[in-house]
């Protein structure tokens, strides 16, 4: 097991005490909600950190990979809609097979016809006619599917498996998309790569938004099954009531009136069930986070990790030493994206709903990057720390701003126009904080709060 430095212990202590602090001030429920999102953010950040921190491969497609993870959650857990399959399954199957045939024939032509003009001509003819034929089958099928009970269904549904499997499937989905993107774009210079991955992630999200047969599009998928018990079931199960009674026995014994006691117990059970659900999520997420953290650290310390650092620090030299830079870049890009995909599936699991229009680059790409930069690229603990601190700041910015504005405008009248306007725009101050944090860190601590450890071995 790795040993932490002293300042790393300080960071861990700060993280834990933040949640205890919020727990006492704003209540344990709020604290756990923030904690769950922090853990998911930390996993996303580790994913980006692996490609950027280890190998210097930039990945601005976070939003797209998260969305792929979310799609996996829908496809794995939603019960199948047989009617949709009956009306549209065949058409979709045919168009899918035709698409594969089209790709194969284009590849075949590109390989075997040497003359450039003939090759272009033949390829473009095949592609145009192929697309027209495929569109015919495809549009028919998708229209049929979308017409199946559009108010509650209108898409293919999923496999009806427990949603927890989707965390793995989500990783594979994101990895698949990342493989295609990597094949296309990884040869580009870093800032071009940033723009291209950002653009492709927008394409991924717009496909999910508008292909209703697949993801229900902007109509959203709601009511995904949870991996943890529901509050309502907990409140009626004996063991949970006994547990709450046991935990609060001291408090309850002080109340002598039996009716009053029952009422207090009921309230405690309602509160407790909410906290129990969030706590079980937190435990599941923490397990995933520790697994990823463990393997990420192992990989970083392994010869492979050393090779990655060599490639990052001097590509030319690494290439001269016989390392296949292009292949390694692709591998690490795919691994990073897969971890982000896992986080995406977990995010949808936590919310219990999939809203494709909710994926916006500001929230799901740039904030994650701020987490990476602030935490410290190249250090997994730093990534976790960045995820925790930035998400915490993102949530707690609003109450903090309200407090500051109220203090600053104490002299003004309560219905002063400026004061009211400022209080109205409280939610936007978090962007200001994020920007300032990023600028300050980049200026005064460019390696992040917990920088990468320099290894002399």
């Amino acid at each position: 097991m790795m040993k932490f430095e002293r300042y790393e212990w300080v960071a861990i202590t700060i993280m834990i005490s933040l949640f205890i602090f919020v727990g006492f001030i704003q209540g344990w429920s709020v604290s756990l909600v923030i904690l769950n999102m922090c853990i998911i953010s930390a996993i996303m950040t580790m994913g980006v950190n692996i490609s950027w921190g280890y190998a210097g491969v930039i990945n601005f497609g976070v939003m797209g990979f998260l969305a792929m993870g979310g799609l996996a959650a829908v496809i794995v857990s939603y019960p199948p809609i047989t009617e949709s399959w009956q009306v549209g399954g065949k058409g979709l199957g045919i168009s899918f097979i035709l698409l594969i045939l089209l790709v194969i024939s284009v590849m075949f032509i590109s390989k075997n016809i040497k003359q450039k003009r003939n090759r272009y001509l033949l390829n473009s003819t095949i592609i145009i006619f192929g697309i027209i034929i495929i569109r015919h089958f495809y549009l028919n099928a998708t229209n049929n599917i979308e017409n199946v009970n559009p108010a509650i269904a209108g898409f293919l549904g999923g496999l009806g498996l427990p949603i927890i499997f989707s965390w793995i499937v989500g990783g594979f989905f994101a990895a698949g998309v990342a493989f295609i993107i990597g094949k296309v774009a990884l040869g580009l210079r870093s800032d071009y790569l940033a723009i291209v991955t950002l653009g492709i992630s927008e394409i991924v999200v717009s496909v999910l938004k508008h292909e209703e047969w697949l993801s229900r599009g902007v109509k959203n998928v709601i009511g995904l099954k949870r991996p943890v018990p529901y509050e309502i079931n907990l409140q009626t199960s004996d063991w949970f009531i006994n547990l709450i009674t046991y935990l609060n026995s001291y408090k309850l014994n002080k109340v002598s009136n039996i009716n009053e006691r029952q009422e207090i117990l009921n309230n405690l059970i309602i509160d407790g069930s909410g906290i129990f659900v969030k706590l079980s999520y937190a435990v599941l997420f923490l397990i995933v986070m520790f697994i990823i953290f463990y393997f990420a650290n192992k990989a970083q310390l392994s010869p492979w990790g050393r090779m990655m650092r060599a490639i990052r620090d001097n590509e030319t030299a690494a290439n001269a030493m016989g390392k296949d830079v292009v292949k390694q870049h692709l591998i690490i890009f795919v691994i990073g994206a897969a971890i982000v995909g896992v986080a995406g599936a977990m995010l949808v699991t936590l919310d219990g709903l999939f809203t494709p229009s909710g994926y916006r680059p500001l929230r799901f790409t740039f904030i994650i990057w701020i987490m990476v930069i602030v935490g410290g690229s190249g250090n997994n603990l730093g990534a976790i720390f960045g995820g925790f601190v930035i998400w915490f700041a993102w949530i707690e910015a609003a109450p903090l701003t309200t407090f500051i504005i109220n203090q600053l405008t104490l002299g003004l009248e309560p219905n002063n126009a400026l004061k009211l306007h400022l209080l109205d725009s409280v939610p936007y101050f978090r962007y200001l904080f994020m920007g300032l944090i990023l600028l300050l860190i980049l200026r005064y601590r460019p390696k992040g709060i917990i920088p990468e450890r320099v290894r002399h071995s």
Partner: protein, 337 residues
């Protein structure tokens, strides 16, 4: 013959005129991005927000003028406020350079770090805009809305199809022509422009021959401020002003700049039009056009639409990806890469 004319009018009304005006807005934006890329050598993610900021200041002054009953008759009042908006965005650019970008330039940081820094700047400007003006959609065009209404055109020519000409479209096209002429004249003919080109071509050589880098950078930010504010205001005038739109607009703008060959001003302009026209042409339903052009039995039954309009933004990135695959340096060879 009449049918042929009708089909041409359909194309003009739904593709060519909107394409030119949207393309002009993208071209001005892409030109700004390309200037930063050529001189300061980084991808400026904050460009969209600079556009938005300029448009916001213009709107604020437009409201002020409107409340004072100052207007330009048939022209939108925003044109009167535009110089003030330009001034504000130039100041914004120079402040952000002085306090943020300059440090990294002196440190000779790698382009990726500067791109990250520009994301920080983007967040800050974004927050300022939202705090000042909120996130609501704002329509601020006044004056005469149409130069020619579809009905007038029908009466005038006797054709079935109308041709509408919005004044904002004409203003966009005229201002773009004027601004592009000025920019290229400046780059080709003036001493400062020449030193900028020299600096972008070979920094060391330019420094050796006595060009002051701070002056070049200063001039660049002034030009970027002008271009960004005009592009942002024209876009807001033509469609409507909404702070969130400008973040989405950054990507087509980057696509335009890269497609044309980043670092090459002429390429950026062409790239803007390429992206705009492909976005509109790929998502337009050609049914009406073919109904006029083809004889009865051949008329199409469907909409004859390649992609639904939902994919408008996706089209520009697809073109970006295709261009990068086939010709990584853009249509006109960019300077770097």
């Amino acid at each position: 013959m009449i049918d042929f004319l009708n089909s041409i009018v359909v194309l003009l009304n739904f593709i060519i005129i909107p394409g030119i005006s949207y393309g002009s807005q993208l071209a001005l934006g892409a030109l700004g991005v390309t200037f930063v890329y050529a001189i300061l050598r980084f991808a400026n993610f904050a460009h969209g927000e600079i556009m938005s900021f300029g448009a916001m200041i213009t709107i604020l002054f437009t409201w002020f003028f409107q409340s004072q009953n100052i207007n330009l008759g048939i022209l939108p009042t925003a044109l009167l406020a535009l110089p003030l908006g330009i001034l504000a965005s130039i100041i914004l650019c120079i402040i952000s350079d002085k306090f943020v970008f300059q440090y990294y330039r002196y440190q000779k940081s790698v382009p990726v770090v500067l791109a990250m820094v520009s994301i920080g700047v983007m967040f800050v400007i974004n927050a300022i805009i939202r705090i000042v003006i909120g996130t609501e959609t704002i329509k601020f065009s006044d004056g005469q809305k149409f130069l020619m209404k579809a009905k007038q055109f029908k009466v005038m020519t006797g054709l079935n199809e109308g041709l509408a000409l919005k004044s904002s479209q004409v203003i966009t096209i005229l201002i773009t022509i004027a601004l592009l002429t000025f920019t290229f004249w400046f780059l080709q003919k003036t001493k400062t422009g020449k030193s900028m080109r020299a600096f972008s071509d070979n920094e060391d050589l330019a420094l050796l021959s006595g060009i002051n880098p701070d002056r070049v950078v200063f001039t660049t930010w002034i030009i970027v401020g002008i271009l960004a504010c005009v592009a942002g205001t024209l876009y807001g005038l033509d469609k409507s002003y909404k702070p969130i739109i400008y973040l989405n607009l950054v990507l087509p703008i980057f696509a335009s700049a890269i497609v044309g060959g980043i670092g090459n001003p002429f390429g950026a302009v062409i790239g803007g039009y390429v992206i705009a026209f492909s976005e509109i042409m790929v998502t337009y339903a050609y049914k009406k056009f073919f109904v006029y052009l083809l004889p009865g039995p051949l008329e199409p039954s469907g909409l004859v639409q390649l992609l639904s309009t939902d994919y408008k933004f996706a089209v520009s990135f697809s073109i970006l990806v295709i261009v990068l695959l086939i010709r990584p340096s853009g249509i006109f060879k960019g300077k770097v890469l």
